[in-house]
């Protein structure tokens, strides 16, 4: 503290103060959002793909019978795909784009400026938050327009929608940042991130109704956050009797929150321990 004051005092008189953390965080957020929506591949393969898959899967399997009256396959897919979309815009996007930023030296370049590291992460949080909300809205529109997905009927259900999106998005974002450090180069980032994400979507009930997934794979999926995000979202949109489709015959909201909270904690530790500003030599 003392040395800090001394060095400041020793500088050229009239040296302007550094811009505030908030200013720089917001500036990073705007910059990140601009980059996200200008990158054609990102907009197509990350932002729009869940909506396209929902349209495809929903149409192909719509005449399949669900054992619960008042529930259609399309609604089941729509609720699950919102979870998939949240994870795509947070986990998949951050996992790939941060690896690219690192490989291209953008992170190192930022490290060489007075930008506080916190401002960088504030920018990521802003960008992820806005993109996740936009993704959820997009999928809601598709779900409502094509599959008669009912919007949440009670304030309680709206609240569940909000916290599942927030906790799920945060857990996925932290995992994405952590995974980005596993990729050795920009080129390897996409397979390193996308392959496990694809597998997870199959076993977590996003591409296939969860009740059709074999028990062993259901158990494997239960370790990861996506299954719980999807379950939480089904509880938001489907009638109470649809809970019988879940393995526990219940929506288990407490367990959904708990698992997501544990993943947030684990993701935070992972990020703090593994985040690198430059590529390995």
């Amino acid at each position: 503290m003392t040395t800090q004051t001394q060095t400041r005092a020793g500088l050229t008189p009239g040296r302007a103060p550094l811009p505030s953390l908030l200013t720089m965080g917001l500036s990073r957020g705007r910059f990140e959002l601009t980059s996200f929506f200008r990158e054609r591949e990102v907009v197509v393969f990350i932002f729009a793909l869940p909506a396209v898959l929902l349209l495809l899967l929903g149409s192909i399997f719509n005449n399949q019978h669900v054992n619960v009256p008042g529930v259609t396959t399309g609604q089941l897919y729509a609720a699950g795909m919102i979870a998939g979309g949240i994870m795509a815009t947070s986990f998949q996007y951050l996992g790939i784009s941060v690896a690219v930023e690192r490989d291209q030296g953008m992170l190192k370049r930022l490290y060489g400026t007075p930008l506080p590291h916190t401002a960088y992460f504030i920018g990521k949080i802003i960008q992820t938050f806005v993109c996740v909300v936009a993704e959820v809205v997009l999928l809601l529109i598709v779900g409502v327009a094509f599959y008669h997905l009912p919007l949440p009927s009670t304030p309680g259900r709206w609240w569940t929608l909000v916290w599942v999106c927030l906790l799920g998005g945060l857990a996925s974002a932290l995992l994405g940042l952590g995974v980005s450090s596993l990729a050795r180069s920009a080129r390897s980032a996409s397979p390193v991130v996308t392959l496990p994400f694809l597998v997870l979507q199959f076993i977590s009930g996003i591409f296939v109704p969860f009740s059709s997934v074999p028990h062993g794979l259901q158990d494997a999926a239960a370790v990861f956050p996506l299954k719980w995000m999807a379950q939480g979202l089904r509880s938001v949109f489907l009638p109470p009797q649809a809970a019988t489709l879940e393995p526990a015959h219940s929506w288990e909201p407490g367990r959904v929150a708990l698992v997501l909270a544990v993943w947030i904690a684990a993701g935070l530790v992972l990020c703090i321990r593994t985040f690198r500003w430059q590529n390995r030599r």
């Binding site: 060095t7 302007a16 190192k108 007075p114």
Partner: protein, 286 residues
Amino acid sequence: MANDMAVQVSDLRKRYGDTNAVDGVELEIRRGEVFALLGPNGAGKTTTVEILEGFRDRDGGAAEVLGEDPGRAGRAWRARIGVVLQLASAGPEVSVRELVRHFAGFYPRPRDPDEVIALVGLGEQAGKRISTLSGGQARRVDVALGIVGRPELLFLDEPTTGFDPQARRQFWGLIRELAAEGVTIVLTTHYLEEAEALAGRLAVLADGRVVAAGTPASLGGTDRPATVSWDTPDGRRAVQTPAPTQVIAGLARQAGEVPGLTVTRPTLEDTYLELIGAGADIGGQA
């Protein structure tokens, strides 16, 4: 006294596995000078500079950059240095102007972004996306980002590698302009002519050590002993001397017109090759 020094380094050390990448480097760089670190690939230039920029921890020795330890210095210190890394920038889908403006926002007293863009010669490309620029243009964006914060000290790591001769000349002009504004400049290069053209003083690095330091003239050219040679009936004779004028005056008194008279001095290149030649043999396996 310390205030006159932009960079002070003594016995700087860095190991990677079994290799001493930096092996006891000593440097003193004064404020306002253009200093070149010259050396072949793998000599330890980048590692040295990256320690001074605060990107790498050192394993030993002392380092002071603008009066602070680069391993511990904070954001206020970062605002006073500019860094141009050894990489060509491929970037996000933003324009040159957007990127330079964005970086300007990190600094307390930035230069005007458009002025910086013009200074690096990208005025016409200001609205273009970074991804559409040529390699040399992208490199200038790196430089623009390095100077937009109005640094007191600018590090440039092999700034002109891959430039064509014309682009290199233009770049040299830019460095001279910055130097004229009083910016201290530390650049690494493996181009001799670059060090000679820009640097007031330079250090030659080989195998992680400073093997020679001084002005370009002291390492080659007029400050080095000259070789006077001329033809005699018995064949050609050569004398190495620090005072060639006296030698020639002596010859002229004896013989009048001296046949085949030449005076040569080792160029910086001769000295450099001699210096790193020894180093290259040792480091040949690495």
